[in-house]
C-alpha cells in the first residue's frame, strides 16, 4: 500500500491494540488493525514479537 511505514515498538506487560494506537496518536474510529495477519479488535492483547498492521481507512475526500 502507498505510504506504508514500519515502526518497531516495545510493549511492556499487558498492552492492548488500543494502547498502541493511542501511542501512535491514531483514533480507533479511523483505522483497521491486523494482528499477525488477522483483523482484530482493539481490545486484543499485543505480545512481544507480534506483528501489528494499522490501515488508515477513514481518509475523507
Amino acid at each position: 500500500m502507498a505510504g506504508q511505514r514500519t515502526r518497531k515498538l516495545k510493549v511492556i506487560g499487558k498492552t492492548k491494540v488500543a494502547d498502541v494506537l493511542k501511542k501512535l496518536g491514531l483514533a480507533r474510529e479511523t483505522v483497521a488493525v491486523k494482528l499477525n495477519g488477522k483483523i482484530a479488535p482493539e481490545e486484543e492483547t499485543v505480545k512481544d514479537k507480534d506483528k501489528l498492521e494499522v490501515l488508515l481507512v477513514v481518509t475523507g475526500g
Binding site: A40, P41, E43, E44, L55, V57, G60
Partner: protein, 320 residues
Amino acid sequence: MLRCSLCGRQAAYNRRYAGVLLCDRCLVKSVERKFRRSVAEHSLISPSEKIAVAVSGGKDSVSCMHMLADYCGKKNCELVAITVDEGVKGYRGESVRIARENTELLGVPHFVVSFKQAFGVTLDEMVRIAEKKKTGFGPCTYCGVMRRSLLNQAARELGAQKLATAHNLDDEVQTIMLNYIRADFSRLYRLGPAYPAREGFVPRIKPLREVPEKEMALYALLKKINVHLGVCPYAGGIHSEIRDFINRLEENHTNSKFMMLRMFDRMKPQLLGAVPEFDMKKCERCGEPTSSESCKACELLEGLGFAKSVDLKLIPPAHF
C-alpha cells in the same frame, strides 16, 4: 484471544455501541442485514425497479454496489453504475479504474461521466480559476454541486427510478452537524434515508445510512473487495474538522454517532411544514430542475466564466 459474542469464533471487531464482539463472518452478515433492513424499513427499492448506483471506486460505494447487485438479483431489479470523473490529477484515475474492475466482476453496466466532457472544465481547472478570480468557493463546493447535478442527469437519462448513494452513518452525522454550524435549515430538513421524488430529480436513496464508516472499511477488507483507499488532495477544511471531532467524541463517548442520528430522525417529523414548499422550475440556462431562476451548477460555472453545456454521452461499454 477474544471471541465472537454470537458464535464463539475468533473476534475481529468490537462493536462498542452495541456491546458485542463480532467475528469476520458475523460482522459481514450484520452489515448486510443493516443494508437490507434500511431498504425494507424505508421502502427504498421496489421489485423490478431500475436502480442507478453512484460508484467512485472507494470502499463505501464499491461495497454498496456489491450489496445492491446481490439484492437486485433477488428482487428482479436492474442495476447500473455511474462514476463521475471530476478530473483530479493523481487521484481519480485509479479510483475510476477500480470502479470499472468491480462493475465488470459483478456484470453491472458502467457509465463514466466527466466534468471535462460535461462542463468543458475539470475540477483541478475550476479550483485554479476560482483562486485566481477569488470567487470565495472552495473545491468541495464545486465538486459537490457539479457531481450531484451530473449524477442526477445521468441517472435520469438512463431511466433509473432511484439513485443509490453510499452515504454511511459518519457521512450523515457529519452533514447534520455541518448544517447546524452553517444554520442551513432547508438542507438539514431534507436529510434522511430517501429524498422524495420531485420533477426532474431522480429520488436518492441511502441504504448504508446506519452503517458506521469503520464497519464499511472492515466489510470491504473482510470480503476482499478491491477498493481505492486514496486521499482526495482537496480533503480538508471544516469537513475534516467535523469528522475528527465526531470521531474523538465517539471514542470517548461510545454511541454518540447513533444518538445524534436518532435525535435528528425524532426531531424531523416535528419540523414538517417549517420550510415553505417551493415550486420546481427549470433552470433558464440549462433546463435542469431548480428552485430559483438558474441552478447552482450554472451559477458556479458562470462565476468561473463558463457556460453549462452538458454532453453526457452515456454509451455503455462494448461488452454490455
